[in-house]
């Protein structure tokens, strides 16, 4: 899967699971500052990413930088997919 395929899936998940009334977010908007991600949100996100993309996210992948925005999450997933594909 490439970035164009990954991004919309993540964007939709973040918007749908974010605060009620949230309609639109920019891809670089901080998800922590704007209340989109708390502990429950991160857990839900990780489960969603691993189930949807069939990847395993380790502790290093789950840094604040890697989850800070939709763009950052997308980059993390795309990188993970390419690394796991290479490993095979």
């Amino acid at each position: 899967m490439n970035r164009e395929q990954v991004f919309p899936l993540i964007y939709e998940f973040i918007v749908e699971s974010g605060p009620e009334g949230a309609v639109d977010i920019s891809e670089d908007e901080s998800l922590f500052e704007n209340g989109f991600l708390d502990s429950f949100g991160i857990v839900s996100l990780v489960v969603f990413l691993e189930d949807t993309f069939d990847i395993h996210l380790n502790d290093d992948d789950l840094s604040e930088e890697n989850l800070a925005s939709v763009a950052a999450i997308t980059n993390t997933v795309v990188l993970k997919l390419s690394r796991e594909a290479e490993a095979i």
């Binding site: 922590f32 991600l37 708390d38 502990s39 429950f40 949100g41 991160i42 857990v43 839900s44 990780v46 489960v47 502790d59 789950l62 604040e64 989850l67």
Partner: protein
């Protein structure tokens, strides 16, 4: 600030007590003896506590878990019960709590989480699984109707007085003894019982000795039940609890051969009545005993029966209704789903941290014995 996760160490003890007081309050006993008993059992190296620390190695979050052995299918595997967990508020906005939950659900083959609150419930629901229609059920039998009713609120009293309490069957074929340790032949009974469930705690003599016979503050008693040929056919672990109106029996554990189980429940009921116990209750996850309990005229406490009026917390008497949710997770629980049926699991009030002493209990400790006195 970057938080690091690491295992709790002995030299964290000073920080632990202040963190405990601030974030757990009276729900978590902060004595070294108590915490060593529950969280430094030797089942893994060091403490069964994960800490989140800042750049100055100050504790900003803790997750304590109770590690036991579980029977899972044909295997014995580690089961971690999530216990007290807290992360400092400002850090929680950055999802620090998530790290602890993700770690534990990935680290152990089996995870258990009972009675979630508004913070933990969503996390356990997302990372774990429940069993459709299964929660922690509370079965009750009242032996002294008037005395039990006096323990209820004004509103609840009528429900107890008006309930159709039946004495139930008489048990003539078992004889019992009270012990302070499991009997020497207990593991033979356990070997038979464990084959009847897919997923449960390994309730062998070693576990019972740790959990009940050497418990630091609470006194439990073992009621062994033998048939006419002196074969051990049933065992109950009971915590007699005093209340202002009399004694209540908390049946912590129950094991019996299936064909004897109704008699064993009847026998416990008879013993309780003879001793003037107000009521007995049994908290259970899993439905294998349901028919036997009903046969012995124990009833489910819920809003339909009205028996929730009999207080759950007795020390001090508290009429709040507790959540009774249960979730399981971990790699093995995810990979092998055969545990997800009501008859496949068997867990009780003795599991996890459901029977910790309260702050009020601690005021009752006899300084000579170091234990809360038991009503014999």
């Amino acid at each position: 600030m970057k938080l690091q996760q690491r295992s709790f160490r002995d030299d964290d003890w000073g920080q632990f007590q202040s963190f405990c007081k601030e974030h757990f309050g009276p729900t978590h006993n902060d004595s070294r003896e108590f915490n060593r008993y529950w969280f430094k059992t030797g089942r893994e190296p060091g403490w069964s506590i994960q800490a989140l620390v800042d750049d100055e190695d100050l504790i900003r979050g803790l997750m304590a878990y109770i590690l036991v052995d579980a029977k899972f299918g044909q295997d014995t595997l580690p089961l971690a019960w999530i216990s007290s967990t807290a992360v400092e508020d400002f850090e929680n906005e950055r999802g620090a709590g998530a790290r602890l939950y993700l770690w534990i659900y990935r680290h152990f083959p089996l995870i258990g989480a009972m009675s979630g609150n508004e913070n933990s419930e969503p996390l356990n629901k997302t990372l774990g699984q429940d069993i459709d229609g299964v929660s922690m059920d509370r079965y009750i039998k009242v032996h002294d109707i008037e005395g039990s009713a006096r323990l209820c609120t004004q509103e609840g009293r009528r429900k107890i007085l008006d309930f159709n309490w039946e004495a139930g069957p008489v048990s003539n074929n078992l004889r019992s003894n009270w012990l302070q340790h499991p009997p020497a032949d207990y593991d033979v009974l356990w070997a038979r019982f464990r084959e009847t469930v897919y997923f449960t705690t390994e309730r062998n003599a070693s576990y019972f000795n740790w959990r009940y016979a050497t418990n630091p503050y609470i006194s439990y008693r073992f009621l062994e039940m033998r048939d006419r040929t002196n074969v051990l056919r049933g065992l109950a672990v009971i915590r007699p609890q005093p209340t202002p109106e009399g004694t209540v029996w908390r049946i912590m554990e129950f094991l019996a051969d299936d064909e004897v189980a109704p008699q064993a429940w009847a026998h416990i009921s008879q013993c309780a009545t003879e001793r003037g116990v107000l009521y007995s209750d049994f908290l259970v996850i899993g439905t294998r005993q349901n028919a036997h309990l009903r046969e012995a005229k124990f009833h489910l406490a819920n809003s339909s029966t009205g028996l929730e009026a009999l207080p759950n917390l007795l020390s001090p008497v508290d009429h709040r209704i507790w959540t009774n949710t249960i979730h399981f997770g971990g790699k093995m629980a995810k990979a092998d789903q055969r545990w997800r049926s009501p008859e496949a699991v068997y867990f009780t009030k003795g599991d996890s941290d459901r029977d910790w002493p309260t702050a009020f209990d601690m005021t009752l400790i006899d300084p000579k014995t170091g234990k809360i006195p038991v009503v014999e």
